[in-house]
Amino acid sequence: MENNHLISYLLLTPLIGGILLLFINKTKENAIKYFGFVISIIAFIISLFLYTGYDITKSGFQLIDKFSWIENLHISYHVGIDGISLLLVLLTTFLTPLTLMSSWKAITNRVKEFTFFMLMLEVGMIGVFVSLDMFLFYVFWEAMLIPMYFIIGIWGGDQRIYASVKFFLYTMFGSLLMLVSIIWLAVYASTSLGHFSTNLIELYSVGPTIQSTIQNWMFLAFALSFAIKVPLFPLHTWLPDAHVQAPTAGSVILAGVLLKMGTYGLLRFCLPLFPQASIYFAPYISVLAVVGIIYGALVAMVQKDMKKLVAYSSVAHLGFVVLGIFALTQESIQGAVIQMINHGLSTGALFLLVGVIYERTHTREISEYGGIAKVVPIYATFLMIASLSSIGLPGLNGFVGEFLILLGSFKSPVLNNWWFTIFAASGVIFAAVYLLWMYQRVMFGEVKNPKMNNLTDMNKREIFILASIFIFIVWIGIYPSTFLNVSAKSTQKVIEQVMPTKTLSLK
């Protein structure tokens, strides 16, 4: 196969950009800000070339670049994309410049380090989505912890140290068990392939042949690691801490992209590598997902802190994604993929909006606000759109994903139970409750807090950032086919990889 270096250019851009950034004098803060922004825009443009270069009529991986890395272990630098990873890469490269831009005012100390870590984070995130070698994947997966750890720890809130260490240890615990399973799988592959292999495409044929008890253990080790990242109830406790303590840019990236790495991992690795185990565990994980939907929504409802509310809403939304993945129908998985993008956009927008107001008032307590719709009308409109998108109003993006997931899980042969859908659907109602209630308390009524009368409305930069997100929120809401078509063949392939064994085992 001919090598296509486009993805490698995409990875190298922020990497080299970040290293060059280190040589800029740290007092030239504006130069650093613009340089970082330009680099991330270049990365975004390259990713658009990925989109045009990708043939959506074919399934399987495309734009593959591969060369040997560690010859003795048959480990190679092996990257490529399919429809699912393409969408997530686009989400990453789209959100990174916006978050960088959003921190121009918010981050005032150690700007150089901040921009450097953001660019390194981008390398890690893209790397996770494009790796086709388990070892390479793991390197990106772990390496990405370092910049995120610093972003929370240096620029975070009062409890930042606790939050960053908790985030690091939680993730590390899960991923190291996954590392053992990766090695086990690679060693097991040598019995049928004749050599130690971490090549994902080769392992796809090896995984399903593992005997079922061991497959279950392997599945659990992988799923644990991904479930911590998602986070699936009851492994979500690191998330509110990390989100609340992280600076706005950190929260946006964390919610927008990092959490998707967990669901992406389930879709890319757990399902195709361990199909029998996936079907066996699907109902159990779906139960946890539904519990997460309801629990996340209920806890979000009683939050006093806006950021914490949005953080818990993530637990609920990601519950939908996991339910969609494990319902194992074409509709539900398509819905899960589009919901990953939706959540990145709408929760990203919500975090940005919370950040906008926090920069002005330095408080996130809902009770401090009230009636500010009159003072800041543009802000009120923007928050309305973002909330409605998150609630899942028809015509905006959230509806498409949730509808497909509910539809798919309703007729899922694997779950074979309506109750999943019924409980999950109630989550949509709860979402309306907690977000609209929050909106009401912040925006409507009389201005109780005299300080709020002096609020300034959003400036051009902030309007630009959010408007660019809203373009996609509306686009997906009105014409989702642009995005659904990209992942259609790839999700179909995931189903094919999991389902043949289902029909066999039923016979």
């Binding site: 560690i70 370092i146 140290i161 260490v165 240890l169 068990l177 090695i183 060693v187 130690f196």
Partner: protein
């Protein structure tokens, strides 16, 4: 004659160091400027020896009437010892001024300890191992107590000497039992008779005593008691050498002696012993390190934990295990020497600034040192893309290949524990403000040594293929 010349040529790494010792002695005796000359001279001696070893790594041969081997993995060990010692020499130039003692013997002893390590790595006979061990250990005892006016240094030296001598006793007794049953001290002959001898209880007891003796030297639990005190009491740069070169030499001796166990033809009957020691060292080292407040003691306990990871490679009893250990030692040498190097740069006069809290706010005071120390900490914690990660990865591969998956799981769990205390250093440096203000003396040679270590940690972490390829090509 030609043959002799070839032998002479192959032995050059050792001969260079041996000659270096003699020349250093003369410089120290006759030159008034020895304090300026000796550090650089010994660095050059180490580098010359190391580069020779690296350049002729492919010419594998057994010389000196089957007493000594050079080339292949032996030369990789030579590389570890000499480059590690070169870094220590560079670090010591400015450090010894602060430490308050300069003795010419320091560099002399450094060279003789490396000579001892090299003898152990290339040995083909148990006596050569013993010879090398003693040359190394005696130099180490003296190095530990270099600053004779300090109580802690004296304590370190005496403790090291007493426990070291005790360990040597085990090794000699083990060698005696092995000789008694195998009727030879030649490692090749023992290897060829290993299959029958392993049913002989005395022989097994001999090997076990031998292993226990070396467990002291590699700082494995429960033979670790001396480690924290010795590291704390001796000069920081020297402690770095104890934890890297000394450990590597002891591992090389074990690999050389038990090499026959690892080609798959003989069942590894020492697996239970090694597995238990590995588990205890990893867990004990990681857990106790959390409680430390002194950075040198923390690194000492981390060194015990790392010994545990490497022993996993021995317990697996396959070539991947050996390759894993050698790679791990290369990685560990540079990351740990780098960490000790930064400790030695930050350490003030009279052993000031050795507490962990001295590191708070370092990132704003000295961003470069803080960034480097953070890299070493992440590497020691085993986080990619740094070298320490791949070392662990390879050792775990060997364990899983040997159906010791549980050992790999214990390994990763103790890794998670160890992340906590490595991260604490990073937390202090980056997330906290300075508690005490003190000036860090600039040391360009020290910084150069640290930069070399950082580069090696990153390069062999990102591209481990070449090192691994080299090691495995010699094992098969």
């Amino acid at each position: 004659m030609l043959n002799n010349f070839q032998e002479f040529f192959n032995l050059l790494p050792l001969i260079i160091i041996g000659a270096g010792i003699l020349v250093s002695l003369c410089i120290e005796m006759y030159s008034k400027k020895s304090e300026q000359i000796l550090p650089w001279f010994s660095t050059i001696v180490f580098l010359a020896s190391g580069f020779h070893a690296l350049a002729y790594v492919n010419s594998v041969s057994v010389i000196m009437q089957n007493m000594f081997a050079v080339g292949g993995t032996v030369n990789i060990f030579f590389f570890i010892f000499t480059f590690g010692a070169a870094i220590v020499s560079l670090l010591s130039i400015d450090y010894l001024k602060k430490y308050g003692t300069y003795y010419g013997e320091f560099y002399l002893l450094l060279q003789s300890s490396v000579l001892g390590m090299m003898l152990m790595a290339g040995a083909k006979d148990l006596f050569v191992i013993f010879l090398g061990l003693e040359v190394m250990s005696v130099s180490f005892y003296a190095l530990a107590g270099m600053n004779r006016k300090k109580l802690k240094a004296n304590e370190a030296s005496l403790k090291y000497f007493l426990l070291g001598a005790f360990a040597t006793g085990f090794i000699v007794y083990g060698i005696a039992l092995i000789y008694g049953t195998a009727q030879t001290t030649s490692i090749d002959l023992i290897a060829s008779r290993f299959a029958q001898l392993q049913h002989n209880l005395l022989f097994v007891a001999g090997i076990l005593l031998f292993l226990i003796g070396f467990s002291f030297k590699i700082a494995a639990f429960p033979f670790h008691m001396w480690v924290p005190d010795v590291y704390e009491g001796s000069a920081s740069t020297v402690a770095g050498l104890f934890s890297t070169g000394g450990k590597a030499a002891a591992f090389s001796a074990i690999i050389v002696t038990l090499g026959v166990l690892f080609n798959g033809s003989i069942q590894n009957i020492f697996e239970p012993y090694l597995a238990v020691i590995a588990v205890l060292s990893m867990v004990f080292g990681s857990v106790v390190a959390i409680a430390q407040t002194n950075i040198k003691r923390m690194l000492a306990y981390s060194s015990i934990a790392h010994a545990g990871y490497m022993i996993i490679g021995l317990a697996s009893g396959n070539y991947d295990g050996i390759a894993g250990i050698i790679y791990y030692l290369v990685a560990y040498t540079f990351m740990n020497l780098g960490a000790f190097g930064i400790v030695s740069i930050i350490e003030g006069k009279e052993e000031a600034n050795l507490e962990l809290k001295s590191y708070s706010g370092l990132a704003s005071r000295n961003p470069i040192l803080a960034a480097f120390l953070a890299i070493f900490m992440f590497s020691l914690a085993g986080i990619p893309p740094f070298a320490g990660f791949f070392g662990k990865y390879y050792v775990f591969i060997s364990a899983i290949k040997a159906h010791l998956t549980w050992l790999a799981i214990v390994g990763v769990l103790s890794s998670v524990i160890s992340v906590y205390f490595y991260l604490r250093v990073v937390v202090l440096m980056y997330f906290k403000d300075s508690e005490t203000e003190f000036s860090i003396e600039r040391s360009s040679t020290g910084l150069a040594a640290v930069v070399i270590s950082v580069l090696l940690v990153i390069i062999i972490g990102v591209a481990p293929g070449t090192v691994i390829g080299m090691i495995t090509s010699f094992l098969h």
